[in-house]
């Protein structure tokens, strides 16, 4: 007798495809948040699986800080073109110019500043749903988030007042001005993402693989050398062979010393890893509740 049994990637895949099709069916103007990072690369593959042979029935939206790795931007633009999708880019620089976002004195990271840009883009295009690549295993506040994460008309997440999600029945109903963030990869771990990239033979930006880079020792980790945040005299600068494990913008992303040049190498490295991927993100280290606070304010 044949065994009708799905392995873990098949299960995660069918769950995510189901969610993407629900979004396409139940919302008027959905968008997919695409940064070029590994999680959103999986999202695009799932969108192909959900909607082909038709066109992917929603545009891609990227909220750029202006501090991205150049390799990421090149990849983002090329991938969107290959898939025949419309790519909408809104930047923190533009928002600063228009006064939509204001930089706090001395603030260098633009992570916080993505919030008003995202909310303005949602309003500009009247998006009622944004599909994002966030995963629950990334962070403790994410662990409590729903697949369909309701945001009020200020884009805010209220963790104490989330809609219960039961079986595979998602409630996508909104009143005008409200918005849904949808996370089809909620149940995926970092390892699942790489195993899926391997199985589906997906291309990822080159900075995920080891390469030579000038780095600065900062907050107990190596960060890319950049003119945006020149090293202080006390900070050590060194040429290393590194890769990035998670991509934030160039000043908040930690580099890990690694010889990994293939997806298989990366999978082996994660299997043996002793720190989480977010352990290399300076933006989450600020306080134990850093992510919770950003999400309540309307972050992805």
């Amino acid at each position: 007798m044949k065994s009708y049994h799905l392995d873990h990637l098949d299960y995660l895949e069918t769950e995510a495809i189901h969610i993407m099709r629900e979004v396409a069916s139940e919302f008027e103007l959905p968008a997919i948040l695409f940064s070029g990072g590994k999680d959103s690369i999986c999202l695009l593959r799932l969108a192909e699986k959900a909607f082909r042979p038709s066109d992917i029935p929603m545009p891609f939206l990227n909220v750029a800080t202006g501090h991205e790795f150049p390799e990421l931007l090149e990849f983002r633009d090329r991938r969107a073109k290959e898939l025949g999708a419309k790519l909408i880019i809104r930047t923190v620089d533009e928002a600063l110019e228009k006064g939509l976002a204001v930089q706090a004195p001395g603030q260098i990271s633009r992570n916080q500043l993505q919030i008003p840009v995202l909310l303005a883009a949602i309003e500009e295009f009247r998006f009622d749903a944004c599909i994002g690549g966030a995963r629950r295993d990334e962070e403790k506040a994410r662990a409590k988030e729903r697949f369909f994460s309701f945001r009020d008309s200020f884009g805010q997440w209220d963790p104490k007042n989330q809609r219960p999600e039961i079986w595979n029945l998602y409630n996508g109903r909104l009143n005008p001005g409200e918005n849904m963030r949808v996370f089809p990869l909620s149940n995926w771990t970092e390892m699942d993402v790489w195993e899926y990239i391997k199985r589906e033979k997906l291309e990822v930006p080159s900075i995920y693989f080891s390469h030579p880079r000038k780095c600065v020792r900062r907050h107990g980790q190596w960060q890319p050398y950049t003119e945006l945040l020149p090293p202080k005299a006390t900070e050590e600068v060194k040429d290393l062979i590194v890769r990035v494990r998670t991509i934030g913008d160039i000043i908040s992303t930690g580099c890990v010393e690694s010889p990994a040049t293939t997806v298989d190498d990366i999978i082996a490295e994660i299997a043996a890893a002793r720190v989480t991927e977010r352990g290399s993100r300076a933006d989450d280290k600020v306080s134990e509740a850093a992510m919770e606070d950003r999400k309540k304010a309307g972050y992805f």
Partner: protein
């Protein structure tokens, strides 16, 4: 489908326990002892131990993620955790055991293969434990584990363990649970969680993790009755590939059974019949597909089919009716009273619905049915009658969790206010158009 050298399957489980049963500690222990924790997580634990714990690492801090929870020391919502061993991947739905949070437990349990009920060995079976078992039974979770915790505080007494097992087994015959496993543990000290305890020579069974790794879950999906609620009509507008010019696919998730190319199917509620011409996926056509795969079906005939229609095996029809009988878990502060109107989402369609009668409420401590009930309050479970504006094509929840479940949405607030489980249909679907042959 998989190209991995070692296919690994996935077990979803939820944990239930009262506030002080040590549920978060149990999960922390599972993660810690299975080496699923990373250095920065342990570092963060130590940091908070220095601040609030007087230097003692508190494993509960791993799961009590939100600041509000840490301040109050309780878990306020469903949190999901992930870990893996070489044998399996696990998703934990960590649901609070506090009495007013039944809705979270129902949420966490709805997708679970297995439920862990935690009992404090000093207290034995309390109302909470019964409530959890009843919910697990109503939601038809296939497997149950009763972890009798804090055994160190009752001197690892075998007698006490058996006593609690007896208390639990007393009401078990009234529930729909087939597989129950009792395990004596100390989550705080790690006994029988990942490694066998030296204190329980009288317990011959597996550790908790050993059981989670080996419990048989392959048959937890319905693979008997083919059901395919159409989710999205897949019709390329301007295909560059001319062979796709007439492509009309029906995308969705197989919600029950198996479908094969050449199979004779019926579309409900219309009753049109056709044959499966192709099972389309981007990775190439399939000969057959099974629940819960997501695929795109192409039928021989170009029928008028839209989202909400259900494609089924022509010789194995589900029920269809606009008068429904269901068990419901009420999840909203405003009580449910007869006559109230809602939107009802079932598989891929949302219809207007009115609750016409509340038949009973389940006494969650005794499992008795209380009749003459005027309303269901938040966290109540009971049986209701519902009338829908359009007939639903459905199965009983006991036969199929996906085609037998629904949610109620409150108009205006759009809140999800109820989770419903349909009782078996009284009559099979009767096609709207009889003897309609194409």
């Amino acid at each position: 489908m998989s190209t991995l050298s070692h296919p690994v399957d996935l077990l979803r489980f939820n944990t239930c326990g009262s506030v002080d049963d040590g549920k978060s500690t149990l999960i922390g222990r599972l993660l810690y002892d299975s080496k699923s924790l990373m250095e920065d997580q342990i570092e963060a634990l130590e940091r908070s131990a220095d601040i609030t714990g007087g230097g003692q690492i508190n494993l509960a801090n791993l799961t009590d993620g939100l600041r509000a929870e840490r301040e109050q020391g309780i878990t306020i919502d469903v949190a999901y955790r992930y870990f893996a061993t070489p044998r399996r991947k696990f998703i934990i739905a960590d649901t609070p055991g506090h009495v007013q949070y039944t809705r979270n437990m129902v949420t966490g349990a709805s997708t679970a293969n297995l439920s862990i009920i935690l009992i404090d060995a000093r207290q034995g079976v309390i109302e909470q434990s019964r409530r959890h078992a009843i919910i697990a039974s109503l939601l038809r979770i296939p497997h149950l584990v009763v972890a009798i915790n804090k055994m160190d505080l009752v001197d690892w007494s075998h007698e006490r363990f058996l006593e609690i097992q007896d208390q639990f087994e007393e009401f078990l015959p009234r529930l729909d649970i087939k597989d129950v496993k009792f395990i004596p543990v100390s989550a705080l000290n790690g006994d029988n969680i990942v490694t066998a305890s030296p204190h329980t020579p009288w317990y011959p069974g597996p550790t908790l993790l050993g059981h989670l790794e080996t419990v048989h879950i392959a048959s937890d999906w319905n693979l008997t009755n083919f059901r395919f609620p159409v989710q999205w009509v897949n019709r390329p507008n301007n295909p560059t590939d001319h062979s796709l010019h007439d492509f009309r696919g029906l995308s969705g998730q197989v919600s029950g059974g198996v479908v094969k190319v050449g199979q004779k199917v019926m579309v409900l509620p219309s009753g049109f019949t056709s044959t499966v011409k192709q099972i389309w996926t981007i990775d190439g056509p399939l000969e057959e597909a099974f629940s819960p795969q997501s695929v795109t079906l192409v039928l021989e005939h170009d029928l008028d089919i839209s989202r909400g229609d259900v494609i089924v095996d022509a010789s194995d029809l589900p029920g269809a009716s606009n008068e429904l009988h269901a068990k419901i878990c009420w999840m909203a502060p405003r009580p449910l009273t007869a006559g109230r109107q809602f939107l009802l989402k079932h598989t891929t369609q949302t219809v207007k619905a009115a609750v016409t009668a509340i038949e009973d409420r389940i006494n969650i401590s005794t499992f008795d049915k209380e009749t003459e009930v005027a309303e269901l309050s938040m966290n109540d479970l009971g049986e209701v009658r519902i009338k829908t504006a359009k007939p639903l094509v459905y199965d009983g929840y006991g036969t199929n969790r996906l085609t037998g479940s629904f949610i109620l949405i409150e108009p205006g607030t759009n809140a999800t206010v109820g989770a419903g489980m349909l009782l078996p249909p009284i009559e099979a679907a009767r096609p709207e158009y009889k003897d309609f042959a194409i």
